[in-house]
């Protein structure tokens, strides 16, 4: 019963996440870009743009220019999150890939960095008047969701250890449609429930900044209007 419930929850969450994201990405990709609006100075070539985007996505270059504290907490959180997610790959493959094994200890430290980053961002939201003003309930909820996932994760390691072998069997069972019982431990159930919730809200929330950053004309356009004609829309392009 419990196993079926969680299995269906994760199937549904995955479908919503992928379907929702696909819908959004298609919407962004299809919308015409009427004009060239890169923020200058901008690279004049495509490869220059790739480099600008890479710095933006990997290092948060603009945020660094803007506010060092937000950059510090934000970058720390995202980099740590990436490591933590990679660390969890060990539940998805058998045998576990070599580099995922190597990553395990780093992934654990990353968990602390992630919590620290979240804490810093949350504190800013409460303490800085300007940021408090623009913060809404959904912003707190998002932080709570992420913090909840991290805290329950840690609790399973340091407070009440989970049966990792059984968990892995459950996860692999989901992937190969050969359901195995989920360990009925409250912390694990909570952890997984929160993860599913995060997956579900992703395409309906500000988490869309993840695909969005790649579609931002201010950053992803080249400064080349004097050498290449930019056509306003797909319609106009089709007419030529």
């Amino acid at each position: 019963m419990l196993t079926a419930g969680y299995a269906l929850l994760f199937y549904a969450a995955t479908a919503l996440l992928l379907g929702g994201l696909a819908h959004k990405v298609r919407q962004y990709a299809r919308a015409p870009v009427p004009l060239k609006i890169p923020i200058m100075p901008a690279p004049t070539t495509k490869s220059g743009v790739v480099w600008r985007m890479a710095r933006e996505v990997a290092l948060f270059e603009s945020l660094f220019k803007s506010c060092k504290w937000t950059w510090l907490f934000g970058w720390m959180f995202h980099a740590a999150l990436l490591l933590v997610v990679l660390r969890h790959l060990r539940y998805f493959t058998e045998p576990v890939w070599g580099w995922v094994v190597l990553l395990q200890p780093f992934g654990l430290y990353a968990g602390f960095a992630m919590l620290a980053g979240l804490g810093g961002l949350w504190l800013r939201r409460l303490a800085v008047e300007r940021v408090r003003y623009i913060t809404g309930p959904s912003d707190h909820l998002m932080l709570a969701l992420l913090a909840g996932i991290a805290v329950t994760g840690f609790a399973m390691r340091y407070v009440a250890r989970t049966d990792i072998t059984a968990l892995k069997a459950f996860v692999l069972g989901l992937i190969y449609f050969d359901w195995q019982p989920i360990p009925a431990e409250p912390l694990l159930l909570l952890h997984l429930g929160l993860v599913a919730a995060l997956m579900i809200v992703f395409p309906f929330s500000k988490l869309l900044h993840a695909p969005g950053v790649f579609f931002s004309p201010a950053r992803n356009q080249a400064d080349d209007t004097r050498t290449r004609r930019h056509l306003a829309s797909r319609l106009e392009r089709a007419g030529r």
């Binding site: 009427p34 923020i39 200058m40 100075p41 937000t70 008047e129 003003y133 623009i134 004309p217």
Partner: protein, 498 residues
């Protein structure tokens, strides 16, 4: 004149405390029915404005990737909150870029997203009410579309796109702004923002020719509608009469004269400005841009050079080719289009101008990067040329040059406070307060390094500064045109010595 307090200039720039509603009362005059109708907009607020507004909103979302993406991507990180000059000058929280965006975003969420339809309280979604519309009119006319906020946003979210969209929606339900819409009507009807007809223009140019001859003894021409000229000069119409703009125009004429390049102004397209950008109307912007292409074709010119104007150069550099191109009938050996600064800089590089720097020795200069040139265009071959070239010209013409603080120039430059269609007397409080960050930076170099004058390459910046600088204790003629400096320094062949 002021029934408001002029902000103070402090030693160290500071971020103000929030004062909710501090600028809620600020709103430009509404467009009269005839100004609206001349552009094809309803004369006054239409009966079913709510539905029409949502319909238009949906239409814009469907044809604009930037707006689509920017509506969703904001994470409320707050990085932009202290970057807008209007916020810094007024303390009104709704002048923080993200809060300004949210005025539109909350309606987007309510009508166009599942989360906003089902859980409006959670995601800050709101119905479009009369009050919201009123806030739009107020606060989307407190954004000069300078795009400083976008530089600092991790996703490049460009608040100018929000202001443009909001103004377009408002125009389409009959809630237009007088200043921009009246001016656009004049461009369509007469050819320039001022409504200056051809004979008056011819007169003005003749008068300038006489002035130059009287001063220098050299006959420098300012030709109008001369078919077969090499260059068509398209310049903001303020250059024809306003101070210090006109001194810049005299500078261009002297440069063309020395270069020996034939040139002309067109009475049909006697305006570089394109206020349609400010109201977010692609159709209007295209119409205005097409006048220039038509004039260039009719006059048979080989090159188009654009005078000192910020948003006009953005439209010319970034949009013309898309809106009115291709410009393949022009000589591809020169940049299409070319900025007057590029033209002059090229001559200086080649050693073809004799410049007497001492002519500007009574001034110590600094340079105000205009936002649309800095963040919306380029000059020269390499990124950042829009910063280097004007400075190189100033340094070639003056002995004394000092830059303002690094976080107030180049890509981080502060708007003059009057851009984006806000350069109107009915927004004077906003204009004065919005100039505070720039005035602060100027005061710093004035006090510490003895700067006496600030040069600019934008008609709006020049008009705005001439008006607001006195409020901050600077002389009204402390703002100068870059080509005014060139005009002072240039030594014409056969010029009488003084």
């Amino acid at each position: 004149m002021a029934d408001f307090e002029v902000p103070t200039l402090d030693e160290v720039p500071r971020v103000p405390r929030l004062v909710e509603g501090a600028m809620r009362h600020s709103r430009p005059f509404a467009a009269a029915p005839e100004h609206q109708e001349a552009l094809g907009f309803p004369g006054q607020l239409v009966e079913d404005w709510h539905d029409k507004a949502i319909e238009k909103f949906g239409e814009i979302l469907d044809r604009s990737r930037p707006l689509r993406v920017y509506m969703d991507a904001c994470v409320k990180c707050g990085a932009c909150t202290d970057k807008c000059h209007y916020f810094l000058g007024t303390g009104d929280p709704k002048n923080m870029p993200v809060a300004r965006q949210d005025l539109l975003r909350k309606v987007y969420r309510r009508y166009f997203t599942p989360a906003g339809k089902w859980l409006p309280w959670l995601v800050g979604a709101e119905d479009l009410t009369e009050e919201v519309l009123d806030e739009w009119y107020s606060y989307f006319h407190q954004c000069s579309q300078c795009r400083r906020c976008s530089v600092y946003c991790p996703y490049g979210i460009d608040t100018a796109e929000f202001s443009m969209a909001a103004r377009e929606i408002m125009d389409h339900i009959g809630k237009g702004q007088k200043y921009c819409n009246e001016i656009l009507g004049k461009v369509h009807q007469i050819g320039n923002n001022l409504g200056l007809p051809a004979p008056a223009l011819a007169n003005t140019l003749e008068g300038l020719e006489e002035d130059i001859e009287e001063e220098t003894g050299v006959k420098v021409r300012l030709p109008l509608d001369e078919a077969g000229a090499e260059v068509l000069l398209v310049t903001p119409s303020a250059d024809f009469f306003a101070e210090p703009h006109v001194d810049g125009l005299i500078g261009y004429a002297k440069v063309f004269h020395q270069a020996g390049v034939s040139w002309t102004i067109s009475s049909y397209a006697s305006e570089a400005a394109n206020f349609a950008m400010f109201i977010g109307s692609y159709e209007q912007m295209k119409k205005v841009a097409e006048r220039i292409r038509k004039a260039a074709l009719e006059l048979g010119v080989k090159r188009i050079v654009v005078g000192e104007c910020g948003h006009a150069w953005r439209v010319a550099y970034s949009f013309w080719d898309t809106l009115a191109g291709p410009f393949d009938f022009l000589d591809p050996n020169y940049p299409v289009p070319q900025h007057i600064c590029e033209f002059t800089y090229d001559l200086i590089q080649r050693g073809e101008l004799t410049l007497d720097k001492s002519a500007n020795d009574h001034m110590t200069l600094t340079f105000h990067d205009s936002c649309n040139v800095a963040r919306g265009s380029r000059m020269g071959d390499a990124p950042g040329g829009q910063f280097e070239i004007p400075r190189a010209i100033i340094k070639a013409c003056c002995n004394n040059f000092v830059d303002m603080a690094a976080d107030t120039i180049r890509e981080a430059t502060f708007c003059c406070g009057g851009g984006g269609g806000l350069l109107t007397d009915d927004l004077m409080e906003l204009r004065v307060k919005g100039a505070q960050p720039r005035m602060q930076a100027l005061k710093q170099v004035a006090d510490a390094q003895g700067v006496t004058h600030m040069a600019a390459i934008c008609a709006i910046c020049k008009s705005q500064f001439a008006k607001v600088m006195p409020e901050y204790g600077f002389a009204m003629d402390a703002i100068v045109s870059v080509h005014q400096l060139v005009s002072n320094a240039i030594v014409l062949d056969g010029q009488k010595t003084t």
